[in-house]
């Protein structure tokens, strides 16, 4: 059975949804931190890389899968908090452009530390590779990881929505992202809000690392790098200012790359990146608030 009218097979669609889900999580991770810190984190990909290496070490030490996944979460979380404490906090009062350069520096630094420590070939995180095997849905075979990725992404985004709308931390985060100064004056504790955003964003990075390691189990220093660059593009396309548009942007990019990557011939898909970034430029010029935002003034950012 195929989606003949779209000239698209079910596995290709599942592939698109899988990457859409993973990229949506990454997009929210980047968007949350941007919301409270006005910081576009270029080093987000390196968090995912660190998670990938944690999984690889877990596999090497023969840990059970759930332990190495926990280990991955721990590493990403620790690194993320460290990054915030050492680099982002001292730079908080600087302009977004300076912070952008700083995250660029952190990204470069972490990538080269990984290159130095683990070499050009990296390590293998093969423990979850069995998820590449398909499940059979009434004659249609779909990779297990695709189903898992879609479900996980949906659950995580739902949980985040609850956090933002039903808890006081969420309320504070939303307030801080609207107007940090005023929120502070009204008693919102800056460090707590920022830590909250950093932690949630790190959790999503860890989840993305686990899911990306299934398809790409050779973890090198550039693990997650291309994905992050694509997601950054997607976040800007959707609208950096608010999480739902950012998520939609991330999802669309993931969906498009997932589908086009498996349907376009190589001599066309290699220019995908150019089209993507050309679209980014057009959106920045024409709709600086993003494609999926309504109205000129983005009122609430989280």
């Amino acid at each position: 059975m195929t989606l003949a009218f779209l000239n698209l097979s079910w596995p290709a669609l599942a592939n698109g949804l899988e990457f859409g889900g993973i990229y949506a999580l990454m997009a929210v991770g980047i968007g949350l931190v941007f919301g409270v810190l006005r910081l576009v984190n270029f080093a987000y990909g390196q968090l995912i890389m660190a998670g990938g290496f944690a999984l690889a070490f877990g596999a090497q030490w023969g840990l059970p899968n759930w332990v190495s996944i926990l280990f991955c979460f721990g590493v990403v979380l620790a690194l993320s908090l460290l990054m915030d404490r050492l680099v982002f906090r001292p730079l908080r009062t600087h302009s977004p452009a300076v912070m952008l350069v700083a995250t660029f520096a952190v990204a470069f630094l972490l990538q080269n530390i990984a290159l130095l420590a683990f070499g050009g070939f990296g390590k293998t995180a093969g423990a979850l590779a069995y998820l590449n095997a398909p499940w059979d849905f009434g004659g249609v075979e779909i990779k297990k990881i695709a189903v898992i990725a879609i479900v996980t992404a949906a659950v995580c985004l739902g949980a985040l929505q609850l956090l933002l709308t039903r808890t006081s931390l969420g309320l504070h985060m939303r307030a801080a992202s609207m107007d940090f100064r005023t929120a502070q004056l009204l008693g919102v504790r800056a460090n707590r809000v920022i830590a909250g955003a950093v932690v949630v964003s790190a959790l999503f990075a860890a989840i993305a690392a686990v899911m990306l390691s299934v398809a790409e189990f050779q973890v090198t220093s550039t693990f997650g790098l291309t994905d992050t660059i694509f997601v950054l593009a997607g976040v800007v396309l959707g609208g950096l200012n608010r999480p739902v548009p950012a998520t939609l942007g991330g999802f669309s990019i993931g969906f498009a790359t997932g589908i086009l990557g498996s349907t376009l011939p190589a001599n066309q898909s290699q220019y995908l990146q150019s089209f993507l970034f050309a679209a980014v430029i057009v959106v920045l010029l024409v709709r600086p608030n993003g494609l999926f935002t309504r109205g000129a003034a983005a009122v609430e950012r989280l």
Binding site: V101, L115, L116, I229, V236, Q273, I281
Partner: protein, 338 residues
């Protein structure tokens, strides 16, 4: 009026370039390669400074213009007999076009400037974060096209067989031209107008300055200088598209930030200082002797040191090593200052 007083702004960087060249002539040919690299990077960083320093707007895209210059100079100077071997997909027009060394460099600068004009026309309306991301997009697009489009160059392969005409003098003259152009622009009325828009956009606009036009002019000039640097670079090394991307962007930006992006002196000092440290640790990969003890570091240490250095400078001394000051002659009377 104050041009005489400001001449050290030109002479000190120019003398630094000359000094680097003279030392580079004396050292062994192995060490000389580091000096050659340094001089090319001085040119790139000064090109970056012309735009970023004067406008205060971030650009991640300048390595695109370096790459355009490199491609222009490279494609036009590979000997006709070897073109089809290295670049099988080259378009017909380029297959038969061949120019000399100097012409290729001039064309590289021209194409770099033209590229900057095309990019700048739409993008110079942006500033801050949007400018950073848009110029990053430009870098990704250029790199993507140069990597895969074999009708305009070698694609993913290295640019071999380009005549290696870049010696110490050619590199030094390139850097020198960049320094002189940067100084001339900075002291011209256009440079001052752009400086005014950096300090206070609203006041500058109220005084009748078109921020967009002034930024565009600086962008085109710095694109041209970056193209020139790219041309010189491709005559030095068999470059590859992969080498003209994120890493070089990071390294050159680091140089500018470390030196102090607001001044020409900062750009040159940053390029020299960072290159010195970077080269030292790169050389130490094979072992170096420092004050009697032998030091060997693992590969990649240079990049890590550079990353830490850049982060530290950003946090501790955001205006760079030179502290945002140009060297000028002291004023004759203190009252003139007030």
């Amino acid at each position: 009026m104050n041009l005489v007083r400001r001449l050290p702004e030109l002479f000190v960087p120019a003398l630094l370039v000359l000094g680097t060249a003279l030392v580079g002539l004396e050292v062994s040919s192995y060490l000389q390669s580091y000096f050659l690299d340094t001089l090319v990077q001085v040119a790139i960083v000064v090109a970056l400074y012309v735009f970023i320093g004067n406008s205060g707007v971030l650009s991640f895209g300048h390595i695109s213009f370096v790459a355009l210059g490199a491609w222009t100079a490279g494609v036009l100077t590979v000997p006709a007999g070897q073109k089809t071997a290295i670049m099988p997909g080259l378009s017909h027009f380029l297959l038969h076009a061949n120019v000399g060394n100097v012409t290729s460099l001039a064309l590289a600068a021209g194409v770099g400037g033209a590229g900057a004009l095309v990019v700048g026309l739409p993008l110079m309306r942006l500033s801050g974060l949007a400018a950073g991301i848009a110029t990053f997009a430009v870098l990704e697009i250029t790199n993507n096209l140069l990597t895969y489009d074999q009708s305009i160059g070698p694609g993913e392969n290295a640019f071999s067989s380009v005549p290696q005409t870049t010696g110490i003098w050619q590199a030094a003259i390139g850097a020198f031209i960049c320094v002189v152009v940067a100084f001339a622009y900075r002291t011209s009325r256009f440079g001052r107008m752009l400086g005014a828009t950096r300090e206070d956009p609203a006041a500058a606009a109220a005084a009748g300055i078109s921020i967009y036009r002034q930024r565009l002019l600086a962008f085109v000039i710095s694109g041209g200088l970056a193209g020139l640097a790219g041309g010189i670079y491709v005559h030095l090394l068999p470059l590859q598209a992969a080498g003209l991307s994120l890493n070089l962007t990071f390294i050159t930006l680091a140089m500018l930030v470390v030196g102090g992006s607001g001044t020409l002196l900062g750009a040159v000092v940053g390029a020299l200082a960072v290159n010195g440290i970077y080269s030292f640790f790169s050389a130490a990969t094979n072992g170096v002797d420092v004050f009697g003890w032998h030091l060997t570091v693992p590969q990649g240490t240079a990049e890590i040191v550079l990353g830490v250095m850049m982060a530290l400078v950003l946090i501790l001394r955001p205006s760079g090593l030179t502290g945002g000051r140009e060297l000028t002659l002291p004023q004759r009377s203190a009252r003139a200052k007030a």
